[in-house]
Amino acid sequence: MSLRIVVCVKYVPDATGDRRFADDTTTDRESVDGLLSELDEYGVEQALRIAEASGDAEVTVLTVGPDDAKDALRKALSMGADKAVHVNDDDIHGTDALGTSAILAKALEKTGYDLVVCGMASTDGTMGVLPALLAERLGVPQVTLLSEVSVENGTVRGRRDGDAATEELEAALPAVVSVTDQSGEARYPSFKGIMAAKKKPVQSYDLDDLGIEADEVGLAGAWTAVDAITARPPRQAGTIVKDEGEGGKQLAEFLAAQKFV
């Protein structure tokens, strides 16, 4: 039977845009353009490489996100994924990481999977906890933060580069892995891929389809609550050190005062 790979991808606000919070302290996803999280492109790339190496694999991309999240799915499909699953429901608004993992887990069970591939972190939330939460909910092994990954005979192997050591890891499938930005540059979609993506199936689910009650997720079901938001103060003008003989000393004092040295 062919290897079923599911890549979890997140649709995030463009980091180069002017990101804001909405009145209910959730991220304002209306006023900025969104895109497929760049870190999740590495997940798609690794999934495609594993599929190409296996010769008999199917790559599904899965997202929990608003209507526009279909753009992220289409990008992944144009890179070469075979099909997509989009979980979308108004009641998902405000869901935290725990809730998101619950939704993703239900969707994965419904879709079926041998290998779940995640990015190392989203580029907006950046908690990096989802892969672990997912594995826990699914009751399967997790092998996270891999800079190299391959699948052979029902086993996923990978390398994790740490500060102190490099670990070689493996786990029996089914399993959840996450890959880092060191795992290999993601491909650019070709025009053929872009055209083909238009014809690939996108399955949509709402909470009902997944058997999830509205109050388990959303702001109501969130374990974390955001009490207040303060915008980061605008950047202050830099300090200019004029070298009139004392330049070096002044520079050292400045760096010391800022606790840089």
Partner: protein, 396 residues
């Protein structure tokens, strides 16, 4: 009604190429340019993205797109750099297109898959030292040696793009195949035209010599060479299209190519706006950003207008081409207008950058050096005006 929006697949392509240009081309191209080096690494990536196969069917290794898709990609590349854009333009529209349009099934199967993948580049040799605008005055000859079944080519071609890279596989050359002139139908009016044919010359054929690179004012990361042919023999089967139809063939290729050059010029014109906008907000003089001065704002507004109208012009010509309608006049208008826009915008962008604009490390310096050729290559501005006037029914 005309629709100003791009279909989603075109928009996705445009965005993908823009991303590629900013992330991959922009950080590296300055170095290649400064050292007159051909950017093999970038070209390989462009090949992997399928850019060289954009307008060709999948059965020949293409992307199943069209000429419009190619032009969109050219505009986005040229917005960042013209050397890589012309490498793509010449590779596709001059290198591979003649094989696709006029080649036999066998020729297409032999050459197109490698040309489409970008692992091989093709070139088109039309211009000669004695003249480019008057392409009918070709002096290169090709004599058919009946005994061996080979063309014997003699002559010189100059300024040929993509002709001397490590990955160049073929040059299509135009040559006189009959010593005498004969009468043929050109541009709807009967005239006396020489019998010119197009012949595929594979790189490495004995008698085919590629000279060293020219020292150019611009397009420094693009490959341009002089080629000479001395009793260069290729099989008779390398004839592209019908014998004696070479003139009509390359007129068709050049008509299309003008739209591609117009898209490229639009990209350069738009790149000037991009660079000027950000510089004008960063650079301060007299206590405020220079962009706060209306003199600078008006300059940039005019630049944007030129880029915008250039885009409308090439898209209009490309859309006529795609619909199988006459597009000769519109292509000439697009080329004439957009190359003028590119030159004026590059001049203005340099002005906005002040002294830094005269420094090679700034992208606008590359734009300045790259813009002028757009009024010369693939038909000078004078030739475009001749074409437009002729389409209006005016005779010399």
């Amino acid at each position: 009604m005309l629709d100003h929006r791009l279909d989603s697949e075109y928009e996705d392509l445009r965005r993908t190429v823009a991303e590629f240009a900013n992330d991959v081309v922009a950080p590296k191209i300055g170095d290649y340019y400064e050292h007159d080096e051909f950017p093999y690494e970038i070209v390989r990536e462009m090949g992997r993205m399928g850019l060289f196969g954009l307008p060709f069917p999948e059965e020949y290794g293409g992307m199943g797109g069209d000429y419009f898709a190619l032009c969109l990609a050219l505009e986005e590349l040229a917005r960042v750099d013209s050397s890589v854009a012309i490498t793509l333009e010449a590779g596709v529209s001059l290198g591979a297109m003649p094989v696709y349009r006029f080649g036999t099934e066998e020729q297409k199967r032999e050459w197109l898959p490698r040309l489409c993948s970008g692992e091989m580049l093709g070139a088109f040799g039309l211009t000669e030292p004695e003249g480019g605008s008057d392409a009918g005055a070709t002096r290169t000859t090709a004599r058919l040696d009946e005994a061996t079944g080979e063309w014997v080519i003699n002559g010189t071609k100059c300024f040929i793009t993509n002709s001397g890279t490590d990955i160049t596989g073929l040059v299509t050359v135009t040559a006189l195949t009959e010593p005498a002139t004969r009468s043929s139908e050109v541009g709807g009016r009967a005239s006396t035209r020489p019998a010119i044919s197009s012949i595929i010359v594979p790189v490495g054929t004995p008698g085919f010599t590629v000279s060293k690179k020219y020292s150019k004012v611009g397009w420094n990361a693009s490959d341009t060479r002089e080629l000479s042919f001395t009793d260069c023999r290729v099989p008779a089967a390398n004839l592209l299209g019908e014998p004696g139809r070479g003139y009509a063939q390359f007129l068709r290729i050049l008509d299309e190519g003008r739209i591609a050059i117009a898209a490229l010029a639009t990209g350069l014109a738009q790149g000037c706006v991009d660079q000027s906008l950000s510089y004008a907000s960063e650079r301060h003089a007299f206590g405020r950003a220079i962009g706060a001065n209306q003199a600078i704002q008006f300059k940039i507004a005019d630049m944007e207008m030129r880029a915008h109208t250039s885009r409308l012009a090439w898209r209009d010509a490309a859309s006529r081409l795609l619909h199988g309608e006459p597009f000769k006049k519109e292509a000439a208008i697009a080329k004439l207008h957009s190359s003028d826009a590119a030159v004026v915008n590059a001049r203005e962008a340099t002005q906005i950058h002040g002294g830094y604009g005269f420094m090679n490390e700034f992208p606008v310096a590359r734009f300045w050096r790259d813009c002028k050729i757009l009024e010369i290559g693939e038909g000078t501005s004078e030739v475009q005006r001749m074409l437009i006037a002729r389409e209006l029914g005016m005779t010399p």
